[in-house]
Amino acid sequence: MSRAGVHVLLVDDHPQGIEALDMRLRSLGHRTSVATNGEVALAIVEKDKPAVVVLDITMPEVNGYQACRAIKRIDPAIVVIMLTAKREPADRFWARQAGADDYLNKPIDPALVVQRIASLLEAR
């Protein structure tokens, strides 16, 4: 990643789903926060304005789409990447409607997620 020390918030109700990505981002010198539900994620976004949020979709209470809308209302400049095992054609559409900047499918090499984060930040 071109910029070091970027704050990335990782949101997944099953933390094992993002643990490998978390380790990799930290090993590259980035700061990470982890939330296991949408509400905690929004509290972190309000307080700490991360540059990037990596969001799972299937979560109880506040799901990924709802969280994405709320994040974009707080600050449209925050880059939101959906990272999900859902693969119906509808999901991409809804992610776009919710304002997500990108949509990636699990399973994925965490190196690819890191690349996407870099290029999306580059494009800002």
């Binding site: 490998a20 990799r24 299937t58 119906e88 509808a90 409607q97 699990k106 994925i108």
Partner: protein, 408 residues
Amino acid sequence: MTATRLVVAVVGSVSSTRSARVRATLEELGTTVVTSTPSAAPAAVVNGADAIVLDVGDEPARFAPLAAAIRDDRAAASLPCGVVVGPSVVARDLALFGSVLLLASDADVDARLAELLEQARARRREKSRTAELEAQLVAATRRLTKLREHGATLAHDARVLFGVVIGFGCNLRDGIAGPVDATQSQHLANIVAAAQDASALVDRHVAALSALALEAERDQRLTGLEARVDPRRGLNDVGELVRTAALMFEGLAAGQGISLQVETEAVLAWCDEVLVKQAVVNLVTNALKFTPRGGSVEVAAFRRAPDSGGAPASRAEVEIYVVDTGPGIPAEDRERVFERGVRLERDAETPGSGLGLSVVRDVARLHGGSIRILDRAGGGASFVLAIPVDLRARGDDAAPPSSRRGGP
């Protein structure tokens, strides 16, 4: 079924001795006889009957109109029908009744009536067997639908777990968790590749399974079995229906310099095809009316599983989106625009009656669904019409009061 007595409709002159003998024979053979006259309507004659006997005697011409009406009526024409004639009737008169009728003269009337009843019994057996097979087919298709849903869950959960294997495998391979030598790195790369293959394999087979189930569900729709439950609703592919309705506006949109995009997936839902199409037409018309040249209108239809959020109730719906880049609808007007005859003050210049959106709301209500206007990043209006996929699963509560009650 076989326990109940056969019902035979006898049409003829009640007073004649021959008529009395026909009725007596039928009763001796264990049937219930219902009599009527040649002037009765065919529907009244065949009402609940298993067979018809036209006791024409020596007046075949008097019965000709009824015989013709029976041949033209689908339900009546499928019933075994016999004609009892008097001795003076000639072959030319019999032509009035067509070739499908069982004919009896005085000489062998008892034997021919027994034959007629055998046909009626065979027809009953056939009908009950058909109903049984139809019920089995419906149940089998329901099981396939369940199988398809389990497949989707399996594929999803497998992706998540393979994601963990691949994520950590890639980290180890790339030395994120400490140095690895070339051999270790190669072994890890093999593990990652195998996990990726396995995940793709699960996806491929689940997709094939799902396509097969969907095909069976469609076939069932084509046989029209389920459509008998309620004549106004049928099993429709809403994705296809929305696509067809939206693409009718392609030319109009192009003429107005508006880009029209349509994105749908196949979603079978229990709905009234005509009404849903009308709702889509109204939404798209509305969107095109308010979108300026150079703008875009996006129409989409997807299945929304109960877990994918947005919808509070735990039921699957098909969601129809019509999203435009017009001026949008202010939050305070989002309920009001669906009222009959309501138009927003700022739209006074644009032609319209204020009825289109109220029709959309009615269609939503009739189906136990909903119509919402969503916030849209970057302005514009975003309408979402949601139709429950299976109304019957929820009972009849969502059906309008005038609709027929009761299941198959």
